[in-house]
Symmetry: C2
Subunit: 348 residues, 2 copies
């Protein structure tokens, strides 16, 4: 089969590799039809985090079940499914609590199970990991493109909103206008926020934020952005969604949060260890830092229900579509910020 | 009047200074009878944080109201009162929410209002700041010594437990065996914790922790301490009280916390900016960091009720008593860890 392989910073190649096969009774093999390039893929693409050369890439698979192990009960060959960016068992203490990312039987995509930017992937723990899309939507392209972000960015934006404690009537600020930030706006609106201030650096993305439900936008940078957001929220919001993970955006989120408020953070921390988090500001104003890697499996059913009934549609975050051979071009477009998020339609 | 004055690292002098007077209608002057030396005083004493030379020290005053401004309604001259380590108005948005440390009219002790380690202090915002001790206990020495920690360490330990989300039947770990950590043990027990593991470095303090309600103690250091606490709690507690504020103890608290759990932190962060917080570990396991400088005024009434009815007694944290002239000796004893916390009985 063909799959996108990491060959070093700036170098993604689509190559022939061996197709993953069922290895244990709880496995399933999925023929990937749709997947995406993630902002977090850019860290290794840019050489800013380590990744083994020669490893398959991609962690947002959607497709058709090809084959299942003998113990798999929840899906059958031919079913339309998607899977979160983490494999989880659904049975352990943490999965039962909705913290699937800490699953004791968990695993990641991209090893010998294949990367999601390829023709096939194998999931261990198929019953715990795969989410079935009802048959009547199984081939509806518009629905599938709205469901695909549930593999990662929509669940992650939702986790930011949940972690920040956003509820009915609240005012919140969303830091970051990438795909996760935009999904954070959708999530905050879905949870009933009355005022949603979106902060970012790109006019076109902030326009999309407005169409997603942002009531105000702030396009400034640094201290000016913080001041403007604080002004708009009469002294800072009680709920901040930090959707970037950079040291500067974490500090901005903490800085603009109202005393006693909560920063929900979901961006993979990047450079935060080196630059240091502004713990003293948090301490002085009792700002809570809550969140982490999003257990998107925990949110899949409720978000899927809303997508299927048409009240939630994150698909506009896909501003570019490529086929499997176009994956390297997809990375380039995201790296150069030409695309917010790239949809990959995998041809077989 | 006489008051303890900071003269530089390692140098506290008891000197004659001018007595604070009523300056505005909301002021009160308190004749200090009891106060204490705080672990946080050691930061400037050791030269590890800046403080203006010549400034009066002490922030845990208890005494008798000497004089009040014409707008003061809640206390009269002759009343027995104590005050938290921060002055707060009781009326603003933050005070009404119980976040008195973010009071928009707030102030600190130690400027021209006098330090609490002196004969008199003036509080602005007397109605919002001073807590009245009922007359029947006003001269009961044992009760007063049990009330005094409500000015700081008992409220701070309580804030750690509340921030960590400790409740009925919970298992928690308390990091730190100083006065705040010991009060954290008392607070966790009071909130219904079933298992309380106290971590520290001093056998005698851990014995006191046991008498305060710790069910187990860990006297090890570093990774060994974390491993031992994790073992005792079958993989880490969901609730960790971080009662030190050093970079190493913050990292230990985050490290041993169960995935999805909460670290309640109340120690003034010290060296954390330089060493960097382990944000990546927090992120990976969705560990929440909640807390900050404790709004002890918010907790004063409920804790006072328990002290007065005899179900809460933090006074054993005072292991040494001095008079006003003995304040320098009190700093020395705490600096050299001879005393857990020093009680100052102010003679007039």
């Amino acid at each position: 089969m063909r799959a996108a392989i990491y060959r070093g910073p700036g170098d993604i190649a689509v190559e022939d590799v061996s197709k993953p096969e069922i290895e244990s009774p709880t496995d399933a093999v999925v023929r990937v039809t749709h997947t995406a390039v993630c902002g977090s893929d850019l860290w290794f693409y840019r050489g800013e985090s380590d990744r083994e050369e020669g490893s398959p890439v991609g962690h947002e698979p959607m497709g058709i079940v090809e084959e299942v192990g003998e113990d798999v009960r929840s899906v059958d060959p031919g079913d339309r499914v998607f899977a979160p960016f983490k494999i989880s068992c659904g049975r352990c203490e943490f999965c039962r609590k909705g913290l699937h990312t800490s699953c004791v039987n968990g695993d990641s995509w991209g090893g010998d199970n294949g990367g999601a930017q390829g023709e096939f992937v194998r999931t261990t723990e198929a019953d715990g990991t795969l989410v079935r899309v009802p048959d009547r939507y199984a081939d509806d392209e518009a629905t599938l493109e709205a469901v695909l972000p549930l593999t990662d960015v929509m669940g992650t934006g939702h986790h930011a909103a949940v972690s920040a404690g956003v509820g009915e009537g609240d005012t919140c600020v969303v830091v970051g206008d990438g795909a996760v930030g935009l999904c954070g706006v959708l999530a905050a609106r879905r949870l009933g926020a009355e005022r949603i201030v979106a902060m970012g650096h790109h006019e076109d993305r902030l326009e999309l934020a407005e169409s997603f439900g942002a009531t105000e936008t702030v396009a400034a940078r640094g201290e000016e952005a913080v001041e403007r957001a604080r002004e708009l929220t009469y002294g800072g919001p009680r709920h901040v969604l930090e959707c970037v993970g950079a040291s500067s955006s974490m500090d901005a989120a903490i800085d603009l949060c109202r005393p006693g408020g909560t920063v929900g953070y979901v961006g993979v921390p990047h450079g935060v260890d080196e630059a240091g988090l502004d713990v003293f500001s948090m301490f002085q104003e009792n700002v809570t830092l809550r969140g982490g890697v999003a257990p998107v499996r925990a949110y899949a059913e409720e978000l899927l229900a809303d997508v299927l009934q048409g009240t939630l549609d994150p698909s506009p975050v896909f501003t570019k579509t490529v086929d499997l051979d176009g994956v390297p071009e997809g990375y380039r477009a995201m790296d150069e910020r030409e695309a917010i998020k790239v949809l990959v339609k995998v041809d077989h």
